[in-house]
């Protein structure tokens, strides 16, 4: 395990990328999804020979600068003080981790070594700054009930804009609305997006012509009753 200088539970978003640990692990339960309790009680042994018990195993979704990622089979160990990403587990998934003097890169060899996540080198430690997935951050920072209320009324009033909904309540425009304390919907409303989408996107064409006139695309319109400005 890497040598750690600070031992307080820091709230920073840094996860340590560690080749010396066998599993991803973290201490905050709110970040996990699909939590299960392991059948046999397991322990994690740290460098100072103390052991910490594993409470749950689950997935952690987070956002890096390169997009949304999901770490699977992350151990929830409440008593540890750092968040660790296991190089061994990443490699087992078929990815590759490259360490350089600038930072480290998780790459996918199956997709021309596309960089999936990037870590920075702080002193001699490799860390990855991540943003926890929105929904989880929301649930951690707001009280659940008011979000559920806002969600419910958003749906009842035909997916009305949340800003508008709050305005209606503050302005006392109608009777019967509860008091919304929470700020936002807990996640992007899928139905709203579908509602605005009148047409599915066109599939991209696999076949691309290689020389002129191989395919001629044509879209004829008309005839029209209206004459043009020129009188034709």
């Amino acid at each position: 395990m890497n040598h750690m200088i600070r031992s307080d539970k820091s709230n920073s978003n840094d996860w340590y990328i560690d080749s010396g640990c066998s599993n991803h692990m973290s201490y905050n339960k709110d970040w996990f999804s699909n939590l299960i309790v392991p059948n046999t009680s397991g322990h994690v042994q740290t460098g100072d020979d103390t052991s910490h018990s594993i409470k749950h195993i689950g997935d952690v979704k987070f956002q890096t600068t390169n997009g949304t990622n999901c770490l699977s089979e992350v151990l929830h160990v409440p008593t540890i003080t750092k968040k660790l990403i296991s190089v061994g587990q990443i490699v087992e998934k078929g990815y590759q981790v490259r360490f350089t003097s600038k930072g480290c890169y998780v790459e996918d060899p199956r997709k021309q070594f596309k960089i999936i996540a990037k870590g920075t080198k702080q002193d001699r430690l490799f860390t990855m700054e991540v943003k926890m997935h929105d929904s989880q951050v929301m649930f951690a920072s707001h009280d659940n009930k008011s979000i559920a209320q806002l969600d419910l009324w958003h749906k009842r009033l035909g997916h009305v804009n949340v800003q508008k909904l709050k305005q209606m309540q503050y302005g006392d425009v109608v009777h019967g609305l509860p008091n919304f304390k929470g700020g936002y919907l807990h996640q992007l409303c899928e139905a709203c997006q579908f509602g605005k989408q009148s047409r599915l996107p066109f599939k991209s064409e696999k076949y691309v012509s290689m020389y002129p006139l191989e395919i001629v695309h044509s879209d004829v319109w008309g005839p029209t009753k209206e004459s043009s400005i020129g009188g034709n």
Binding site: L152, G158, K164, L177, C192
Partner: protein, 141 residues
């Protein structure tokens, strides 16, 4: 309304109804350039009632922004509600009725600090009876 020919009859009905309800008169009618608004019967009726007829160019929906935007507003909400509950398309009519009911009871930009319902009837609407469209309900005997 089965065909566009019914527009005249329905417009008369609408005009009488709304003028009776709010004690005001329709001053201007601004339809799109569709043929249903151009019959002699219709024009004569409008002249008799002193309603100005501001028609827009045909096939130029851009000039009829208010009506077209409202269509889109309704359809977007209706589609979202259908999708939310994964309802089949034959609920289309119900969902559009519900949408209009809801829009009339929400604050919208064109009516300041009021709901359309309040602007029309002078009463503040109560929303506490609303449920999510398409949610499961049980009959109690």
């Amino acid at each position: 309304m089965k065909s566009k020919a019914d527009v005249f009859y329905n417009f008369k009905k609408f005009k009488n109804q709304v003028e009776n309800e709010c004690n005001r008169h329709i001053k201007v009618l601004r339809p799109d350039g569709g043929g249903e608004y151009f019959s002699h019967e219709f024009s004569n009726y409008l002249n008799d009632c002193g309603v100005r007829h501001q028609f827009t160019c045909r096939y130029t929906t851009q000039q009829n922004g208010v009506a077209e935007r409202k269509n889109r507003h309704i359809v977007e909400i209706a589609r979202a509600m259908l999708n939310e509950m994964n309802l089949p398309l034959y609920f289309w009519v119900d969902v559009v009725y519900t949408t209009v009911y809801i829009i009339n009871r929400c604050q919208i930009a064109s009516v300041h600090l009021k709901t359309p319902e309040e602007a029309w009837s002078g009463r503040k609407p109560n929303l506490s009876h609303l449920k999510i469209f398409g949610c499961v309900c049980m009959c109690m005997f």
